[in-house]
Each structure stands twice: as C-alpha cells, then as structure tokens.
Amino acid sequence: MGKYLLRRILQMIPVVLGTTLLVYALVFALPGDPVKAMFGDKPINAAVAAQIRAEYNLDKPFIIQYLLFLKNALTLNFGNTFSGQPVIDEIGQAFPVTIKLALMAFVFEAIFGVIFGIISGLKKGKWYDSVILIVSLLLISVPTFVTGFLAQYFIGVKWRLLPVTAGSDPGFLDLLMPAMVLGSVSMAYIIRLTRSEVSSNIAEDYVRTARAKGMSNGSVIMRHVLRNSLIPVVTYLGQDLGALMSGAMISETIFNVHGIGFLTYQSILKGESNMVVSIVTLLTLIFVVCNLAVDMLYAALDPRIRYA
C-alpha cells in the first residue's frame, strides 16, 4: 500500500509538468500583446514597454520563460500580475470562495442525487420515477448558463427568495443559488447512476439469499442493495469534487462570484500567463489528489480491490 501511494505521488510530477507546459504554451500562443493592453488607449512608450517586457521576461523565448516560471514556482514564488499584485495573494483571496461554493454544491448534489436515485431505483416504473427521470434529463441537457439565468429570474428577481448575485465576500445565502445551479448537472448524473445501480443490484442473487435468511426488507435494502450501489456513486462524487473546484467558471461568472473560475476568466482576457498557469497548476494538483483519494476510497469500500 505504501509503495503504491509513493508511486502514485511520484506519478504526479510528470502530470503537473506536462499540464503547466501545455497551458503555458496555450497562453503564449494567445493573440494580442499583454503589454499593449496595459497601456489601453494611451500611446505606448517604447522604453517603458521594453522595461516591462524585461521585467516580466516577455522578451525571452517561450521555453526560457517557462523554465524561469518553473524555477520560481519551486520556491513558491509565482510572480506578480501586471498590476503588481503577487499572484499568490490573488489566488489566496479567490480560492476560499470557490472552496465554499464547491463544497455547498457537492453536499447538495450528493444528498439530493442519492435520495432521488434510490427512490427512483426502488420504485422503477412508478409515476414519481418517471418525473425524477424527466427532470434529471432536463438538467443534463439544458446548459448551465440557461439554468443559471432561469434560477436568477425566478428565484432571485420574481419571487425574491435568494440574492440574485453573490458579489465579493459572499455568505451562505448568497452562494446557495449558485451552488444549486452548479451542482444540478452532477446531481442529475448521480440520480441516474444511483437509479441504475439500485435497480440492477436489487435483482442480484445475493439479495435473494439475504431475503431467504429471513432478514427484514429494510435491512436487505440497506446492507445488500444500497451498500453495493453506493460504490460507483462515491467514486463519481470524488472525481466530481475536483471538477467542482475548477469547473465553476460559468456559474461564477453568471452569479458574479469572485472565485477561482472568475479569476481565471479575467486573467485569460488580460493575458496574465503567470496567473493562468499558476491557477492551472493548483487545479491539476487538486484534481490528481482527488483522484488518488477516490482510488483509496474505492479500495476501502470494495474489498475485491487491493493495490500493490
């Protein structure tokens, strides 16, 4: 087990190096000159521009820029934004907001996804199963920005139940609607996954064996149907947590949540390669760690899986 863990952690190194190089190259290839953008409408002073270029290493070839970034990143110095703020500070401000949002969305989708999925799977063919199925299909097929605007219009503007946007430093209620919108698609997937797992597990031979023991229906469902059905669901949830941490770009923009997604979007527009690459490095790490955690969890839940 320890050996396996070490191997997995070592595997992260090429993954992180690869993604950062790729993202660095993509940002480098973006059309437009960030220095020109900094001057905005003002005339460009060639000397000042050259100085800025030198300061941010923009005058050097791509690969040198990347290696310099890496060198600094190893000492946890991610450089400054063009406006002079340390990159790490900006991330430090945005990240807690995203974590809060992601966790809320996660709890929302896990609880409602599993509950509706179980109801649906146990009572396949009943009218509420059909309703749950149709709603989940809608949530999957309608893009998040549509769901987001609809929620804003009805819940926020028309019925005035929740704040329309979150703004900076949002509280629980401010984030509730964005979290629900963010988690809705995954919730729909979890409903469908749970439903199909439950309905196939309930026909398993060992469920019949359990009934033949004279166990009550409730404990048969709990111990033999749900326990087994939740293995793939938990795996999905674990991977989704990683996705929620990074994939909030659309929701954060719609609801004006100043989180990582929002920051990434802004930074891409400004061509802040340092910022974008730093964020991506962070997200890659989160993703890889989540994946590792899921694999460990999987082994804990299913005794047939052993890592060596």
Binding site: D205, A212, K213, S219, P303
Partner: protein, 676 residues
C-alpha cells in the same frame, strides 16, 4: 453393493419413512400455478397444477430441464419469485399452514428458521463486500437465534430420542472458545485420573481437540465423549457443566462454517467471498441455509456449478448434516442420476407440469412418462452406468453406446494429427516470487478421426492445454505439432491456414457468440475472413451448415439472445465447421447445457465425426460425458498428466487413485439400475 446390505438399508429407509409419515408432510404443494407477466401484460404460465409433498427428514428431488418450472416452484414456496412472477392458484402449506398468500412481512417470519435456501450459483449468491462471517451472522440475527444453545428440529429429537437419553435444554449449550483450553486441560486431568495414560490418552486428547469445535459441539456431547473415553459419569458431567457455558456469536459462526465442512473456519469467517473457491463458497451458503436450523431446506441445484469431485464431497456432507439435524430437503436438479442417488422421492417436471413422481428407484427403473424415459436415456451419468452394468452382466455393451470406441489396434495404426510433447506453461502469480506451473510436462497425441478427452477438475490445466493447442497461448516450453509441423513457427499465411484446420468450440455459448452479430453473420464470418467464395456461395454454405447442425434456416436473421443455450452451442458448432476443419477443440463444450440438450450436441458431434472423419480434442470435467464420446482419455491433475489410456481401460481398470475418485464422483454411480 451386496444384497444383504441393500436390504438392511431398505428396511431402515422404510422405518424412517414410517416415522416421517406419522408427522404429516412438512410441505404440501397442491395444484400450484405460477404466472409471469410479460411487458405487454400477457401471462406466461411457468408452473401448472404442480403437486408434491415433503415429509420431515425426507429428501425430495424435483428433476427437469431449464425452463421446466422446477426452480420457479421452489421459489414460489419460499415467496421469492423473481420479477413479475406470482402465484395465481393452488396452495402451499408449510406445517399445515397456508403460506401462498403471505405478505413479505409474514414470509420474513418463516424464512431462515422454518425454511432455508441453498442457492444455485455460489459465486453470485454472497455479497462481495461483506465478510463471510458477517453474512452468516445476518442469518442468525434476523431470526433472533440463541447463539449459546442448539435448537434442533422435532424429527432430530425423535430420532435421537431412541438412542440417547432425553436431554434437558441446558445440555444443548455450545462450547465457547474462551473456555476451550480449560476444558481440554480438565479433560486431560480427568483422563489421567481415570487411569488412561500414554499413547491412548494422547489419541483421546487429539480426538477431543479435533471434535470439540466451539459453537458447534454441545455440553452433552462433551460429556458423552468423556464417558466413552473412560471418565466416570459424574466426573464427565461435572466437567461438562463447569466448562461448557455457551458460545459467543463468533464461536457460533465458525462452528456453523466448520459443520458445513469449511476447515479453519475461525480464520475463514473473516475473509471475503472473492478469497474463496466455488466449493468453499457453497459450503458457506450451506452454513447460512442451515444456520437457524430450518425444518425444510430448499437446495436449488446446489452443486451444478462445481466440479464433480467437489460436488460429491459437498452433497455427502449436506446429506450427513441434514440427516443428523432431521432437516427435510427439497432438492432441485437437472440430473436424474444425481436425484436418484440422493433423494427418496423424485418429482419430474416438464413444461411447468409434474409429469411423474414416486420413489426414486421406481421412477428410474420403470419410468412411465415419455419425457422421463428420455431423461433416463439421456443422463450421461446413467448412460455410463448402464454400459458398466451391461458389461458386468456379460452383455453386449456396444449396442448401448452412442459412440463406437475404436480399439487399441485402430488407434495405434492411425496417424497422429496433433502431437503435444513435454508441454509446460508457467504463469507469474501476483506478489509471489516463484512461477506457478499451470501445465507441467504434458505429452499426448490426437489420432486422425478419433476423440481424445482431457479430464480434470478446474485448475488442473486442461483448458490451458487447449489454448496452447489452439495457439492462443504461448507455451513456456515443449511443442505442439500439427501434421508433423511445429505450430510455434506458424505466422501470417501458415497461421491462417492452421486456424482454418483447427477450430474451437468454447464452454459458454452465451459468451462465445457476439451478441451484435446475427446468426448468419456469426457463421459467415470465418468464411469471409478466409476469403472463401463470394457472397452467394457463402450464403449457400451457411444454409448447409445450419442443416448440418439441425437448425432451421429461419434462424439466420436472428440474434444469439433469441436462442436457447443448446441452440447457441449448435451455432457455435456450425461456425467451427464452416471451414471444413480437421480438428475441433471442444473446451467444456457441453458442460453448461441441460442433459437432454447435452445429449443432442454429443450426438451431433459423434455423427459429424462418423461422416467427416473429424478429430476432437475434448476438454471436460465430467467423466460421464467422456464415456459417450471419447476413444482415449488423458486425466490431468494440478497441471500434470496422471493417466493416459483408452476409454475402456480408464473406466474398467483405472490405475491412479485420482482417476478412481473421479469415477466414484459420477452421480448415480452406485445405483442399482434395472436393465429394461
């Protein structure tokens, strides 16, 4: 079996039967009707007017092919009908009480402690995520079993009552693992006090250590054992009372598993199902089925998924156990030989109806219904039995044999089409340094136009040999030659040519046909790959092949899931025949099929061999089938070749103990068959 012996056994049986009758039937099924509802609300009649009785302590077998309604009847009794199945008529009485209308809650009350189940497929009947012990514990907890005391059924009490003095409830207290060391010490002391010393004492102590299983052996047995060893009555009872104080849940679980024949049960109970072999899983399921001492155990093909030798051991054990507990058993099987050997009464079902029932030997020797006659004729176990007994009576056995075995002379003269010499295959096992030898120095040859059978249990390496002969697996060392040429050298065109002449038929007809291919496409595929003929001539060939395997040409446009197992296996044979091969490698080709279907496929293979001079390499675990098809037999055990002789030699004069065990395990082997 001598006359006298069987007479006294019959007498004993009759006495037992009288006792059973006295108590009235424990299960009374009358005119049972079970329907399944299809998607478009039509009712499919799975069971029609089935009636049968089970008396306390009796083994009753329901025999029939798949789809005959035998399992459905059993599940209806348990209230565990799958899907849309429901009882639409008739009555099911358990101990005189009508249970067919029971709700799920009411069924929960009778399941486990009145009726137990030992299901068919051990691999899928235990939940992979719970430990074995936990799953036994569930059964005990669900029925609020007193784990420190034994609960025995009425009949067991009645049977025991005649031999042993009436015991009070307390005497049924189990040994606990905590007190066991002290108990053994006290026993040792008592022995030396009673003047039993030296070797004799040691032997007695060894016996105690082996027999006194915590959670399984009771106080009165301890006392009984001590008294038999020479300890005085008072002393023995004093020790038993002092040290046998009742078991814990863990003790009881391992006691139950130990009873079911699982060695080292305390450790085993903490393992998960995937760490068990099929035979061990089935033992665990037997422990679960009997955990709450039900009066009726329903065993639904409990050993069909297992090797014959394991099957015999498990059924022997189950028989002894249910006899001791006085449990009645409703035994579902498709093998008439097995049913006749194990059960006192046989109920034959066909297309949802009971077509015949009666005492086992009666049904076997004088079958009345045409279907039963066919079953008797087809059962491989009985067929080989018939040949053996015909020979014993000095009659001409040839007439009874489907397959005319070639004599040693013909075999010697015929040309070797496939020769296997010093074949070895090693596999790397995970987390182990040394290599595992799946096949160890095996040599034999298949002669043109004959059948060589490789027999062995699972894990004996027989399928690995087949895969190496087919060049699907590379041998570690040794060679396989086809018509004198080493197949390891075949590549590209020569390999394609080899594939054309050596074709496989695999075990699982459900898995070996692509579900997305129509039957036509499946059979035509080899022709297309080898670029034989044009579209038109290929279609003609497919039609011919379907005729050859006696399938209607209308199946061409259908898909594998629309066919039964036997039909699929015919399609697999047709596909193998498409290229006019010389050799067909049948890897357990009939093992998954019902006896009647098995018989048909074997006949087909025999006919094809007679017509076209095919050579077969026939892999099977079932010696009974071998008798019907093979000229030569190779017996394999743990990767090694243990015996190689003609079929007659193997059956008449087996050389090795292992071969004898295999022969002994053929169900129905000890039946007295009437030769009518």
């Amino acid at each position: 079996m001598s006359e006298m012996n069987s007479n006294s056994k019959n007498e004993k049986n009759e006495k037992l039967f009288e006792m059973q009758k006295e108590q009235g039937p424990i299960l009374e099924v009358k005119d049972l009707k079970v329907d399944f509802t299809t998607g478009d609300k039509r009712a499919v009649h799975a069971v029609r007017d089935a009636s049968f009785n089970v008396y306390p302590g009796q083994w009753v077998a329901i025999v029939g092919e798949s789809g005959s309604g035998k399992s459905t009847s059993a599940m209806a009794v348990l209230g565990l009908l799958p899907g849309t199945g429901h009882v639409v008529g008739g009555s099911i009485k358990l101990e005189g009480e009508e249970i067919s209308h029971y709700t799920r809650k009411q069924y929960e009350q009778v399941l486990g402690d009145k009726m137990g189940l030992v299901p068919q497929d051990p691999m899928s009947n235990l939940n992979p995520v719970w430990r074995i012990g936990t799953q036994v514990e569930e059964a005990l907890k669900a029925n609020h079993m007193d784990i420190s005391h034994e609960k025995r059924s009425k009949l067991a009490k009645a049977l025991a009552g005649s031999e042993v003095a009436v015991k009070s409830e307390d005497d049924e207290t189990f040994i606990g693992s905590k007190e066991l060391p002290d108990l053994l010490k006290a026993a040792q002391a008592a022995l030396s006090e009673a003047g039993v010393t030296g070797d004799k004492a040691k032997k007695k102590m060894d016996y105690f250590t082996a027999e006194w299983v915590p959670g399984s052996e009771t106080r009165w047995r301890v006392a009984d054992d001590l008294i038999k060893a020479g300890v005085s009555d008072d002393k023995a009872w004093a020790i038993a009372k002092q040290y046998v104080l009742g078991s814990t849940m863990t003790d009881r679980i391992s006691g139950l598993l130990e009873e079911a024949g699982l060695p080292d049960a305390a450790t085993r109970a903490r393992q998960y199902p995937h760490e068990f072999s099929g035979g061990m899983l089935q033992r665990a399921l037997i422990a679960i089925g009997l955990a709450c001492r039900p009066d009726l155990l329903i065993a639904d093909e409990p050993t069909s998924a297992l090797d014959v030798t394991v099957q015999k051991r498990i059924l022997d054990h189950l028989h002894a156990l249910t006899d001791e507990l006085g449990t009645a058993v409703l035994f579902i099987t498709h093998d008439l030989g097995l049913a006749a050997e194990r059960a006192q009464q046989i109920v034959v079902m066909y297309k949802g109806q009971v077509v015949e029932s009666g005492p086992s030997l009666e049904v076997l020797q004088h079958p009345q219904h045409p279907y039963t006659k066919r079953l008797v004729a087809a059962a491989p176990s009985l067929a080989s039995q018939r040949i053996i007994s015909a020979k014993e009576h000095g009659e001409n056995a040839e007439a009874l044999m489907e397959h005319h075995v070639k004599g040693e002379e013909t075999l010697e003269k015929s040309e070797h089409i496939i020769t296997v010499s010093h074949l070895t295959k090693e596999f790397k096992l995970p987390r182990k340094k040394e290599m595992f030898k799946a096949v160890d120095d095996v040599s034999f040859s298949v002669k043109r136009g004959t059948t060589l059978a490789i027999v062995g249990e699972s894990g004996s390496g027989k399928s690995t040999v087949a895969n190496m002969v087919l060049k699907l697996l590379k041998p570690t060392s040794g060679t396989v030659t086809y018509e004198g040429k080493d197949i390891s050298g075949f590549e590209g065109k020569t390999l394609l040519d080899f594939r054309r002449h050596v074709q496989p038929v695999f075990q699982n007809p459900y898995g070996s046909l692509d579900p997305m291919y129509s039957i036509y496409r499946s059979i035509e595929e080899p022709l297309r790959i080898h670029g034989i003929g044009d579209k038109k001539s290929r279609e003609k060939r497919v039609r011919e092949l379907l005729d050859l395997v006696e399938m209607p040409q209308s199946v061409m446009q259908r898909y594998p899931n629309e066919l039964s197992g036997g039909q699929r296996q015919r399609i697999a044979v047709a596909r193998a025949m498409a290229l006019n091969p010389d050799v067909i490698v049948c890897d357990e080709a009939v093992s998954a099929l019902d006896v009647l279907v098995q018989d048909q496929v074997l006949r087909l293979l025999n006919d094809l061999q007679a017509e076209r001079g095919l050579s077969y390499l026939f892999i099977t675990h079932d010696l009974a089938v071998v008798r019907q098809i093979a000229d030569e037999v190779v017996v394999m055990q743990k990767g090694r070749l243990v015996e190689h002789a003609t079929t007659d030699e193997v059956f008449d004069h087996p050389q090795k103990q292992y071969t004898k065990d295999l022969l002994d395990a053929i169900p129905g082997g000890h039946l007295q068959l009437g030769l009518d």
